[in-house]
């Protein structure tokens, strides 16, 4: 009995220790640092202040926050509009092909998004493949400047993050009980009504999980604007990176990260609620 208790105690304590030391403690430190003042000798110093949070609403920084949210939201929306029908069709493909088709989504999911971003540069640059194709086809007569614009950043985000939208939605569509859809049809609902009133609510956890996995990284992936957008401060991620590495204003950078974390917390809450709502609708 004593030996049995030992295994349990060791494994539980090990993971608890690790998570407290490397997840909880750093989070608390970021929160603390966001409430301190920037120091010259040390990186942070007393007194406690809310100044860092007030600065976020300064027009200079607020612009970055709003443009970042806008870009991330737009990327999430496009990923959802492409990813949902795609995941839905994928889940409804005959099992014979489905496995390999799914694997073809999983591979870009795991591939370094830096490598994929670099591949996008080759396509988008002035003498790149896209321009050459368009010129050859006679659609344009002058090469378009796409690389180093906001549009390129947007394309890069969608390209990098699309698999993160598809996989959670696929998982929830696959779990969908087709009898529920048949029941809705039998009871006289149109195809559209079945989709809106049955399919969408039941796959809501997948939609929200996918949106989180796209929206949150899209706010932070600083190397995409760095490489595709010509090194402008476009995303909150670039702002945070600059505060920590060039401006050396750690408290302000921490405050910006806390805001990002709050956005995550709100989204997690919505996700949790939707999972519970879906469970209630499922037949026991």
């Amino acid at each position: 009995m004593n030996r049995d208790g030992l295994f349990k105690r060791v494994s539980v304590n090990a993971i608890a220790l690790w998570l407290v030391l490397f997840v909880l403690a750093p989070s608390v430190l970021v929160l603390a640092s966001s409430l301190l003042t920037r120091g010259d000798a040390q990186l942070v110093r007393a007194p406690l202040t809310f100044e860092n949070y007030r600065r976020i609403v300064d027009p200079l920084y607020l612009d970055i926050f709003l443009s970042s949210f806008y870009l991330a939201a737009l990327s999430t929306l496009i990923c959802l509009m492409v990813g949902y029908p795609f995941a839905y069709l994928l889940a409804r493909t005959s099992p014979r092909y489905r496995r390999n088709l799914l694997l073809m989504v999983v591979i870009p999911f795991w591939t370094s998004s830096l490598v994929r971003t670099y591949a996008m540069i080759i396509i988008l640059k002035t003498k790149g493949l896209l321009n050459s194709l368009l010129l050859w086809a006679g659609v344009i007569h002058e090469p378009l400047t796409i690389l180093y614009t906001d549009a390129a950043v947007f394309v890069g985000l969608v390209y990098s993050l699309l698999p993160f939208m598809v996989l959670p939605i696929y998982a929830s569509v696959e779990k969908l009980d087709s009898r529920l859809m048949e029941a809705a049809r039998d009871l006289g609902a149109s195809r559209a009504a079945t989709f809106v009133r049955v399919v969408i609510p039941l796959t809501m956890p997948g939609i929200i999980a996918g949106s989180m996995l796209v929206f949150l990284p899209a706010l932070g992936m600083f190397y995409i604007p760095d490489l595709l957008g010509g090194a402008k401060t476009l995303l909150i991620g670039n702002l945070i990176k600059n505060q920590f590495l060039s401006a050396r204003d750690w408290p302000f950078g921490s405050a910006a990260s806390v805001v990002l974390t709050l956005v995550m917390a709100v989204m997690l809450l919505v996700y949790y609620k939707s999972v519970r709502a879906t469970r209630r609708q499922e037949p026991a």
Binding site: F86, W110, S112, V115, K125
Partner: protein, 255 residues
Amino acid sequence: MNRVFKFSFMSVVYSFLYLPMIVLIVYSFNNSTYSLGWKGVTLSWYNELFSDFSLWEVALNSLTVAGISATFATALGSMSAVAFYRYSFRGKDFLYGLIYILIMAPEIVMGISFLILFVSLNIPLGFFTLLLAHITFCLPFVVVTVYSRMTGFDRNIIEAAKDLGASEFECFRLVILPLLMPGVVAGWLLSFTLSMDDVIISFFVTGPEFEILPLKIYSLVRMGVKPEINALCTILFGFTLAVVMIAQMLLKEKK
């Protein structure tokens, strides 16, 4: 739904996902430095890459960090998954919550919080800090992979082992672990690729004297497109491809 529409829609999405990578791979063999035109097949970019010794060192650094952190994360993660599945204990929901946060937290937030942690603990940035950070962000992937494998097998097997006199540890080592093996190996492989590919977190937690491959690529790419980088990215992509395929095969095998 219309089959033609379905087929073309899916093809367009797959092309969007794959075309840039295919172009990258094809051009890594193109015998021309700048032009888009095809000038014949060459391996010279790979040759140049392989004769660059500083790059070898950087690649070795990456492999070392990935190997050690994947192994450590897999050991700790598998043990935790078993503990989460089998035991109830105080603070379980809280630990679940921390794992959720780890999965969902934007990488940049994780990166700077590690930076603040290491600086306040006075640990110099480099190999060791990189290792601690990589173990941490790999951990939840192992826990999730192994845990989902556990939910698939019969609880009675464990009961039988216990009835036949196995201790908790023997039960773990002789019964649970062999059954979990495919999940454990898949978790290791996925951690390994995650660690090999990470840019954002590593960016904050490594020092100038310990360079790793993704950060090296990042600084090279900032200077522009070069055929050597095409070759390097192709190798890294091929590597990920192989690892993910093996991991998927292991995970599928049981279903």
